[in-house]
């Protein structure tokens, strides 16, 4: 371009790496561009400033410069055709109407004509037949004439009418045709529909038939599971399972199990401390979730379920043996006062000890010795498995067993509602219920079909509800619940979210109910046994040692409310309260967390076991009162009852019905409660030993135990409980170290070394946080835009002024010209007139 039109922005300093956008400018070009733009927009606006009417050009693509004129034309044409397409003349009755002449189609005539012409070529060239000419050139009159000639009598009357008639006839004809066509179309539609239906029927038949080739009967809607299918499926499972078992040696398995448990334990500890809560959120914390992905777990639980399934038969056959085994067990475990053996009555007695050992040693992994033991345990388990397989084979031969098994169908659909679920389980024995549940799980495993996951997730809720219902019965079926917990555990391992949601839902309901009662009455009562069972189940399903857990933490708060808000008015309340205390203790047994409510409650329990007198040295808090009517609830005065008391485990059913119990029994229950209370105190003392203010926490209880409890009146056994509790309390060393704050990080001194900031992009300010930077950027952009806008407005005004000035000048020039013209003409007139005058004068 012309070097005189180029403006160069000279740089004072050359800076490396800086890109300059505006080093060369073309003022002339940019000015002309601006002017052009203004003439197109601003000038137009200016010229139309007082005009209300606007001319809008709506032609297609008129202002679109991207389209070439040819294309534009084509598109417009296409558009026009499109618009006209399908749009019919409303007066046109027949859409593809042919033009007629004397009721004959013109097209047909034309065709005929051609043929005639070609024929006539040979016969009489150049001559047309009379008829043809009549049709062609008669103007319609020929036909009429012909008609007239046929009916000559009433020629005069008919002639004016006939034309009208003809038209009417034509119309009638076309209408009829139209109707016919419609009828034809409808019938065709009907036919296709019918065909479709037929095809569908046939198709469904085909589809239904394909999966099972032999079952041709249409009536069998739900395929009855035949044994072959079951065996195939079972074999399928076995096949999947076997290789991984066989491939690994027992030591490897044991080692793997140990590693797994160690990892889980480490996870648990980490969660307990509540550190890196955010960090670990991404990775799944539980291994078993992965295990489930492949659809089959080689865990103990599956095997256990299997054993239960077979256990039904075992029980029938070997009941005598079982009983013997139980007795033996009880002899062994008498000192423990444990009813473990009863719980596991289904299991084979030989395996029971090994099972227990293995389970016990799972979490004590520190010593090698124990891990060896565990390995041994695993070995035993495997033996147990193989033995089971053998027994299965034997069982298959047994006809009796087959009869027993045939009672239950092999496949179950997941029940859609709680009612169907209940009816499925109603009237079955525990073992049958377990089998049903197991089969539901197996048949609807998430890996088998898409919707199964959601279905089984529902099952968790149903099972929980069912357990709650069993627990809230008049005579709670706790044995059944005891067994149902196992499938629940397995389901929970598969669907943690669903399980946590359902338990949370239950807890929320319970808490909500209690809150409502408190609002209405001002005090609450203990909930039913079902809620307590739910809380217990929570501790079985979820790790209670976590710092925060979506289910356990609400459960904690709810239990705390139970212990602080609920009134203690009856012996049942005491038992329920003690149950909650046990729950609390169990929840915190691993994490050793401090529960003030627990201590308060135990203190209160001790308080109500004392004869009425002024409490000294300690204060009881809500829900217990130092004075009031519910004191002495646990006080036993009857000497005989005191003597005849034996420590017994409290049956949970007393929670729902206690009224029938006699006075002596009541007293015995009271003493058992007291013994439980002593034991809990002992356990608390062991648990909270490490707390710095242990003695302050336990002080009221100690005062009560040492100064107020009438030890000498207690029976021998209770005295033992008492002394063991007191011993646990007293032989703790008092140990206080003054607190020191954690050291703060020292604030670094100010230094003179330059602050080095990473430069990511030149020409942009780096300081400040991201938000601050964004704000600055926005401000700067706003400023720039404002400046630009002002400049534009100014230029617009200049442009307008220029145009206005030129307009005025133009107008002035025109006026001047006109005036000059006028003056000129006047001058010539004058001149002429003068000339005339002079001539006259001369003449």
């Amino acid at each position: 371009s012309n070097p005189f039109e180029v403006k160069v922005n000279r740089q004072k300093f050359n800076i490396l790496g800086r890109k300059t956008k505006n080093d060369v400018g073309l003022p002339g070009v940019s000015r002309s561009k601006a002017i052009k733009k203004r003439t197109q927009t601003l000038l137009k606006e200016y010229k139309e400033r007082e005009k209300a009417n606007v001319f809008k050009d709506k032609r297609f693509g008129e202002y679109n410069t991207k389209i070439s004129p040819e294309e534009k034309m084509i598109r417009r044409f296409a558009l026009e055709r499109q618009q006209n397409y399908g749009k019919k003349n409303i007066y046109n009755l027949n859409e593809d109407e042919e033009l007629t002449h004397y009721g004959q189609s013109l097209a047909e005539i034309e065709k005929l004509n051609d043929i005639v012409d070609s024929d006539s070529d040979t016969e009489e060239k150049g001559t047309l037949s009379a008829e043809l000419t009549a049709v062609h050139f008669g103007g319609g009159g020929g036909l009429l004439r012909k008609k007239a000639s046929s009916g000559q009598q009433d020629e005069e009357e008919e002639k004016p009418k006939s034309r009208k008639e003809l038209i009417e006839e034509m119309i009638a004809k076309s209408k009829q045709e139209k109707q016919e066509r419609q009828a034809r179309r409808e019938s065709a539609l009907e036919l296709t529909e019918k065909l479709d239906n037929d095809w569908k029927e046939i198709q469904s038949l085909i589809v239904r038939k394909t999966p099972k080739s032999e079952g041709n009967d249409k009536e069998v809607e739900k395929p009855k599971p035949d044994e072959y299918d079951m065996i195939v499926r079972e074999l399928g499972f076995e096949m999947k399972a076997k290789p991984s078992v066989r491939m690994k040696t027992e030591e490897e398995l044991a080692k793997e199990e140990q590693a797994r448990l160690q990892k889980l334990e480490a996870d648990r500890l980490r969660r307990m401390r509540g550190i890196d809560e955010q960090e670990n959120k991404k990775k799944p914390t539980h291994v078993s979730a992965d295990d489930l992905a492949d659809g089959f777990i080689l865990d103990k639980d599956d095997r256990r379920l299997l054993s239960y399934k077979d256990g039904k038969i075992n029980l029938e056959n070997e009941e005598g043996e079982e009983k013997d085994a139980e007795e033996e067990e009880e002899e062994e475990e008498e000192e423990k006062e444990d009813d473990k053996s009863e719980e596991e009555s289904e299991e084979e007695s030989a395996n029971e000890d090994e099972e227990g050992d293995a389970a016990d040693s799972h979490s004590d992994l520190e010593s090698d010795l124990e891990s060896e033991e565990e390995a041994a345990g695993n070995k035993e388990q495997k033996k147990h498995r193989t033995k089971e397989n053998e027994s299965q084979n034997v069982e298959e031969l047994d006809p009796k067993m087959k009869a027993a098994k045939s009672e239950l169908p092999y496949t179950f659909a997941v029940p859609e509602s709680y009612e169907t679920f209940k009816s499925l389980l109603a009237g079955r024995t525990i073992e049958q219920q377990l089998t049903i549940l197991e089969r539901i799980q197996k048949c609807n495993h998430p890996s088998l079909a898409v919707g199964n996951k959601a279905k089984l997730e529902k099952l968790v809720g149903f099972l929980l509800e069912y357990i709650g219902e069993l627990a809230s019965l008049d005579s709670p079926e706790l044995r059944t619940i005891d067994k149902l917990v196992l499938p629940l555990y397995n389901l929970c391992q598969m669907f943690p979210e669903a399980a946590s949601d359902s338990i949370k839902f239950i807890l929320r309901d319970a808490a909500h109910d209690m809150e409502e009662v408190i609002e209405v009455k001002g005090r609450a009562t203990f909930p039913g046994l079902d809620t307590l069972i739910y809380l217990k189940i929570t501790s079985l399903l979820f790790p209670t040692s976590d710092f925060w857990h979506p289910v356990v933490t609400p459960a904690f708060i709810y239990m705390s409310q139970l212990l602080t808000k609920c009134r203690i008015t009856t012996l049942q309340d005491v038992i329920k309260g003690l149950f909650v205390c046990c729950l609390f203790l169990e929840y915190v047994s691993f994490s050793k967390r401090f529960v003030p409510e627990l201590i308060n409650f135990l203190l209160g329990i001790l308080h109500i076991s004392l004869p009425k007198k002024q409490a000294q040295g300690y204060t009881v808090v809500h829900p217990f009162t130092p004075v009031g009517k519910n004191l002495e609830l646990l006080l036993v005065c009857d000497k005989q009852d005191l003597e005849s008391w034996q420590k017994q485990n409290l049956p949970l059913s007393t929670v729902t019905r206690l009224k029938e119990a006699s006075r002596t029994e009541m007293n015995h229950i009271r003493l058992s409660c007291l013994a439980l209370c002593f034991d809990l105190i002992k356990k608390c003392a062991a648990l909270y030993e490490s707390l710095p203010s242990f003695h302050e926490i336990m002080r009221p209880i100690r005062i009560l135990l040492t100064q107020h409890v009438p030890v000498n009146e207690y029976p021998e056994q209770l005295r033992e409980w008492y002394h063991s509790a007191l011993k646990e309390l007293e032989n703790k060393v008092k140990h206080y170290t003054p607190l020191v704050c954690e050291k703060k990080k020292p604030v670094p001194l100010k230094q003179y070394t330059p602050k080095i900031v990473k430069v990511l992009e030149f020409g942009r300010k780096q300081a400040g946080s991201k938000k601050e930077q964004e704000r600055k950027q926005l401000i700067q952009r706003h400023k720039r835009e404002l400046k630009g806008a002002i400049r534009e407005i100014r230029k617009d005004n200049q442009f307008l002024a220029r145009t206005q000035l030129s307009e005025i000048m133009e107008r002035d020039a025109a006026r001047k010209r006109k005036v000059k013209e006028l003056l000129g003409s006047l001058a010539t007139q004058e001149g002429e007139w003068k000339a005339m005058k002079r001539k006259k004068g001369k003449n």
């Binding site: 996870d267 969660r271 509540g274 959120k281 914390t285 539980h286 078993s288 979730a289 006062e337 473990k340 389970a359 016990d360 799972h362 005891d482 067994k483 917990v485 946590s500 807890l507 808490a511 809150e515 501790s539 399903l541 979820f542 976590d546 979506p550 289910v551 933490t553 904690f556 708060i557 709810y558 705390s560 409310q561 003690l578 149950f579 046990c582 169990e586 929840y587 967390r593 401090f594 529960v595 003030p596 204060t619 808090v621 809500h622 409290l650 049956p651 949970l652 058992s672 034991d679 203010s693 242990f694 302050e696 926490i697 140990h735 206080y736 170290t737 607190l739 704050c741 954690e742 703060k744």
Partner: protein
Amino acid sequence: QLPTALYKKVLVILHDSILPYMNEPTLMMDFLTVAYGIGGAISLLALNGLFILIHQHNLEYPDFYKKLYSLLDPSIYHVKYRARFFHLADLFLSSSHLPAYLVAAFIKRLSRLALTAPPESLLMVIPFICNLFRRHPACKVLVHRPNGPEDMSEDPYIMEEEEPSESRALESSLWEIQSLQNHYHPDVVKAAAVLNQSLSEIEDDISGLLELSAYELFDKEVKKSAVDVPLEFEQIRGLFGKKNDIFAEHFTLD
């Protein structure tokens, strides 16, 4: 003279429905002083009216703080009027002219009593104590005693002492708060852990925490959504089938 229920009712509305409309509110002085001396919930309620008299009508109340100190017993964390009481206590202890021994005694007693408090009260009282530390930096020896004796066999603080000045609170340390760092409620643990570090300058606003109820706490926890749910990995063997199950020792399933 009055039945307890009526007494409470009168005292509840006294400060905003009766005192402002009296020509001479000072006439209520005797009534309130007697009520304040009764103890328990009635004393807590009388505090509000008394505060108005002291604040607006120049009532001189000897040993006011001693009396307030003796009002602190385990029930303050459990009673209905907890929010009211702590609101007033916050006012009374906001003065920076109070001696350090007095504030220390209050802190020590409050935290000692906190060992029996439910979580909703703990969530309120721990920030309360933190605020006291901020107002009275001289009390910080309670949480930070770098050159103290290595080992003590007894807490120097005397709980039974009625007189705050004799309670030796300043020689003690806040072991109670340290114990509460092992509380089962995660929020309490977090609140208590604040005292491990040096406190920030800005006071916590406890007005929102005064009315906290257990149900609100529960609701808050239940509504938290978790990304994943950790599971118990220990295999169970029935309802009471955990190892070392406490229930198996004391309950049967009958």
